[in-house]
Symmetry: C2
Subunit: 240 residues, 2 copies
DNA sequence: AAGGAAGTGTGATGTAAATCACATCACAAA
DNA sequence: TTTGTGATGTGATTTACATCACACTTCCTT
């Protein structure tokens, strides 16, 4: 093992970067803090959706359980990310599950309180709007990747997103500093473990990626980009 | 042909219903009006995204062109709908195309002007946030329908959405008062014309739907709901 | 150090949907 | 009336992935 893991991540970006320091402080003032243990759920499909969550530390996955058993991972949020549903309907419910995957410290914002804050602070409202736009765009991009370029395209796109979220540069190679099982990757793209295994095998054989110490190393990012037509998106955008 | 087409639509809802009369007026004050002919494009993939569009009259489809030729229809907007991209990046570009499919009158809002307005009017900001939430939710729901329940599920979901958008009740049956070709339906669910044709054939044979005067008539909505697990969503939500 | 659990790798087979290739059908225009 | 042009309907074939069934590898436990 070399020193590659000591290097700085490609990006240590959180979606709350949409906000200025002051705005984030205002948001923090209306949060109440809670702790959640890995394995717990923040909310389930069908629960009332009237809160936002700010991940002070930890990790939360948003998933959708399919008809029988398997779960599809829609988003993975990390330290510094803000997430949740803001709906126009009073009796709105979640359509996904929020699973805490690392012990987390979470700031909870009631929608009512948020509305008051937005009402009072125009600048915050504008930033908040941009945050929502970013979230929406991420969903659309993911949608496109999964629909338009088949499973290999979805996998390549996911690898790129992993680079943008957990990648550390090592010369022209990028180490994804996060251990992932084939099953996890499969759940992220709605494929089976076996399919992911075969696709990763193909990529290894073609010298696009490699495994080092059980970490995925991307050796030919342009190839991945080409497969899923990832051209013009900002790094902040194409994340997991 | 009977009198069924004289009856009132199930819903004459537009997504601008998120706004109060006053807020909508404020928005209208910062719009400039333009006309667009059927067949033209409002914007293309890659164009700068710094405007919102309010469809005063007409129809616009948001599409994504796939690698070779075929285009995927993501949204169809009708009279009264507000749409467009609000992004946190200054140099943000569209990732989809906006095709005008009926001669339209469109109010254009510059993002800069919108920001000023949101900054000034807290109540508008709150409503705007809800509109954005609704848009995002629609994308997520569509995503789910297309990913989780295969092509038949996607078709059933689309038929339900068509009922909610263009449906007129006729006893227990619902007439979709809009002519649609198999190809159009195919583009909406990312399938081929042939597949749609076969699936529609199955549904006809099972007496779930029927054709009357080239309009689709839904005879067994509960069956469609069952296929794509459409249970708890408000009618305003599940639209095309 | 042995045993077990979780993860990986890979062949054989099944299946949904795309693709290809036509045969209609509806209807508008010449 | 014929002719051309979309749209529909349907079989045959191919393709992409899922499913099933195991063997193999890692690494963790006690």
């Amino acid at each position: 093992m070399t020193d590659m893991l000591q290097r700085k991540p490609v990006s240590q970006v959180a979606n709350s970067d949409c906000f200025t320091e002051e705005s984030l402080t205002k948001l923090k003032e209306i949060m109440y803090e809670m702790r959640a243990e890995a394995g717990n759920h923040l909310f389930w499909e069908g629960d009332t959706a009237d809160k936002l969550y700010f991940l002070k530390r930890g990790q939360v996955k948003i998933t959708k359980a399919s008809d029988e058993g398997k779960s599809f991972i829609l988003y993975v949020y990390n330290t510094g990310d803000l997430f949740g549903q803001v709906d126009p309907f009073q009796n709105s419910v979640h359509s996904f599950n929020a699973e805490v995957t690392e012990n987390s410290i979470i700031g909870v914002i009631q929608q009512k309180d948020l509305e008051v804050l937005l009402w009072q602070h125009g600048d915050l409202a504008v930033e908040f709007m941009k945050w929502m736009g970013l979230m929406h765009r991420m969903t659309q991009t993911k949608f496109r990747d999964l629909m338009m370029f088949g499973k290999p395209g979805a996998l390549c796109s996911t690898l790129i997103r992993l680079c943008n979220t957990y990648g550390k540069n090592h010369g022209s190679e990028i180490v994804i500093t996060k251990k992932l099982t084939n099953s996890e990757l499969a759940d992220m793209i709605g494929a089976t473990r076996e399919s992911v295994n075969r696709m990763l095998g193909d990529l290894k054989r073609a010298n696009i990626i490699a495994m080092e110490n059980n970490y995925i190393v991307v050796k030919d990012l342009p190839y991945l980009r080409d497969i899923c037509q990832c051209e013009n998106c900002p790094v902040d955008m194409c994340r997991i």
